[in-house]
Point group: C2
Chain length 477, copies 2
């Protein structure tokens, strides 16, 4: 009897977020939904992360309609989202009532599994969202943002896992966004969680493929007893994305493990996306191969090209190597924060400034906030001199409380500000859109009636498909 | 104490053969040589396979000069070549004296490690070349062409490995050109050879990356005690190529195994080839991602696009799926030959013909020869009805002897035919060039004085670099 390994398919969220800057339009996903829903996945990640932002900013697409479309087309398989704890899908902390309402509406519209993470692994930033998910009776998966540093010992992660279980999480996710987890480390961490939190603790491993080692880490995780893994259909895999689903299925042959995946269905999904992807060529990540330098810089692929363009704007394109040397210094001063949204941007930008202007001669507001505790508690010790600089720069005192505890109730104010906007339909969903992206939401509400915009282009002619057919399920009618 | 795993770097031969149709010019390889030679490899594969053919056919480059250039630039690390046993680097069997002379000249010009294989795993086709290599005091690596079929049991491979050792091979290579070897199979085969042939038997694993599982197979081979593996620098890896060298080095962390590779050197090699590769875009394999369908068709990536163009020429591009279904039938009738040069082409073309014209209504001459034993003994039982059809078609009787035993001494004749050719310098090397490629050699001899032609193009302007600078080590002076 083979042990069954569950798979979460990432094609509809993280895969296109990583490979084509989250630009995949709903009409290019719909044709794959029936096969995906019947292919035997434990869950289908299809919402959250950067997709909400991309929907309203670039695709004139209502993210809530997208979610309901998915739910209607994929009724059999649990739908999964990625949620940044108290940040939800935005870039600040929200007051608890907003968190509750967001989770409730996400569940109502179709989300079954909530993967919850905090960039600093400050679990106080996850408490409220875990509670909210449990209150609506859905699966709360608590994620550990994986990084490598002198203070991120296996035992530190095991303690975090145990606290996530105690907080009520239904499963634990090891979330390795930069592809840093090597095979032996994956084995020890999975085995460790099982032994420390109990064998019944459900463990899922999320890895990207960028460094070229993580397919092996998945195998070692399987040997260590992992319950589920994340992969993406082969035509939407590798580079800054993930390991290929079909290869994962095949590699388990004769190992005593197996999956429930129907490879015939996946061949159709693969062929669909391999036809679609060339239309998004202009958004394709410049990182397409394997980048083992990430083991030193820890900067994920996407962030690297970000910093390159910052340097270019300053006429200092040749100083990338200095920036890569500065990043570990800055990261140490922050108490070794994991580098994931938003900390990867904050640390990366500060390293660029340090290189160009002299170390900490100029601080960004975000970096000061990070040093002063406004994103939460750092994993390790902060450099007190840099904290002092941040205090003087930002003219704010450091905080020790959970950042959201400083917030006044805000739902009423958000609602009052959203409702008068042209095109706002008065729903809680629209208020949430405004709450998350107050700059973008007004424009989106006003143009929403025009329907989703597909930003793909014919690879031969360069022609855009500007009009989505009437009666299209992605169109608001 | 870590166990050391040896690595053979493939950048200079199999990597560019797999990724850009063997088109890499010598002047694009030279800048990487010093770093490659000092990076700590067990050997550098840089010659043989299709490179000899590509040199004289496309690059106006003397393959022997290329080899001497490599030897002068990389004096520290053993240089390795791939040799198709009694076929040498051509497409027919050669009489034993030609084999002896080819091996002797290869050794004289710089080859230290000879990897010897036969497409049918008929070891009679390797006997002479193994002897020739031992006679010149070089390393003879006997390769098993890996395939999957009902008759290719682990025991059958173990028997082959033992016979290779008995023939005098210094090491055994498991050569998996289609990326078919799954992790557990790799473990069992490596462990099996060690146990069956003795732990001192040196085992090397050569895998391609096409199916997305073989990086894991490399890890399982390490766990099973493999001595060496083949990888390619990351910027020349994946797709129909190989697993990335740097990732292999990194993934061994904390496993009790390590390599001698200098990653600083490899970063420079990586950056060099990532700059060079876009110039060869027009030759880039259309297979760039992961193709797990190979587990069923067993057709390597390169062959697939070959058959697609055959079908297109016949206006039957839509019948690819039928051809893929026909291949296993044809392969069974041939006694389950491994699909590697030249059997992959022979079986693939026959499957196309069967699909278009009806099964075995038309036979190619090569397919008839294969059925009649003119390539050697098949691994399994031939379909006697198809053998009879081949006999009638080719008007030849089946043979049981080693094919080369039917050949008359031919060196004198080859020499007599080569010497009068315009531009032939009378050397044994030139006679061998003529012997291997009698159609192409005359043109090459005549134009050789013009020097190597780089077929890369500026990716922005499309401009060719037609003139290699004077005094260039790749230029014959
Ligand atoms: Co991710
Ligand atoms: Co190969």
């Amino acid at each position: 009897m083979n042990r069954i390994i569950d798979i979460t398919e990432l094609a509809l969220r993280d895969a296109h977020q990583s490979l084509i800057a989250t630009r995949l339009g709903i009409d290019d996903m719909i044709p794959a939904c029936e096969d995906l829903d019947n292919a035997g996945f434990w869950s289908l990640e299809c919402w959250g992360g950067a997709t909400y932002d991309a929907c309203i900013r670039f695709l004139n697409e209502d993210p809530w309609v997208r979610l309901r479309t998915f739910k209607s087309l994929m009724p059999k398989t649990p739908l999964q989202m990625l949620l940044r704890g108290q940040n939800l899908l935005g870039y600040r902390h929200y007051q608890d009532e907003v968190v509750d309402r967001f989770v409730q509406k996400s569940a109502e519209n179709g989300i079954d599994v909530f993967r919850l993470f905090d960039a600093l692994n400050d679990l106080r930033n996850l408490e409220r969202s875990v509670k909210a998910v449990k209150k609506v009776g859905k699966h709360a998966q608590g994620a550990i943002s994986y990084t490598v540093s002198p203070i991120h010992t296996t035992q530190a992660y095991l303690d975090q896992a145990k606290r996530l279980v105690e907080m009520g999480c239904d499963s634990i996710c090891i979330k390795d966004m930069a592809a840093l987890i090597k095979p032996q480390a994956a084995y020890e961490l999975v085995r460790g969680i099982k032994e420390y939190c109990g064998e019944q603790t459900r463990v899922q491993l999320h890895v990207h493929a960028t460094t070229g080692v993580t397919m092996v880490s998945l195998m070692k995780a399987v040997e260590a007893g992992v319950d589920g893994v994340d992969t993406a259909v082969s035509s939407m895999s590798l580079g800054p994305g993930h390991n290929p689903t079909e290869s994962f299925v095949e590699m388990l042959d004769h190992t005593g493990n197996a999956t429930r995946i129907d490879l015939g269905r996946m061949l159709r999904v693969k062929e669909h996306f391999s036809k679609i992807l060339p239309r998004y060529r202009e958004f394709l990540s410049t990182v397409t191969g394997v980048e083992t330098e990430i083991f030193r810089s820890q900067i994920p692929g996407g962030m690297l090209s970000n910093m390159e363009s910052q340097l270019k704007q300053q006429g200092a394109a040749d100083r990338m190597h200095e920036v890569l040397d500065e990043i570990p210094v800055v990261r140490k001063d922050t108490g070794y924060v994991p580098l994931v949204t938003p900390t990867s941007q904050i640390v990366g930008t500060q390293a660029v400034l340090n290189t160009l202007m002299g170390r900490y001669k100029v601080l960004t507001g975000e970096f000061a906030d990070l040093m002063l505790g406004y994103y939460g508690a750092a994993p390790g010790e902060l450099n007190p001199e840099v904290v002092e600089m941040a205090r003087r720069h930002a003219k704010k005192e450091p905080i020790n409380v959970r950042p959201a505890d400083l917030l006044e109730p805000e739902w009423g104010k958000l609602r009052a500000a959203a409702l008068p906007l042209e095109g706002c339909d008065g729903s809680d969903e629209d208020v949430l859109t405004y709450a998350l992206f107050p700059q973008v939401a007004p424009k989106f509400f006003a143009s929403r009636h025009e329907g989703p915009r597909n930003v793909g282009k014919d690879p031969a002619t360069g022609a855009s498909e500007t009009n989505i057919p009437e009666g299209h399920p992605g169109k608001i009618t």
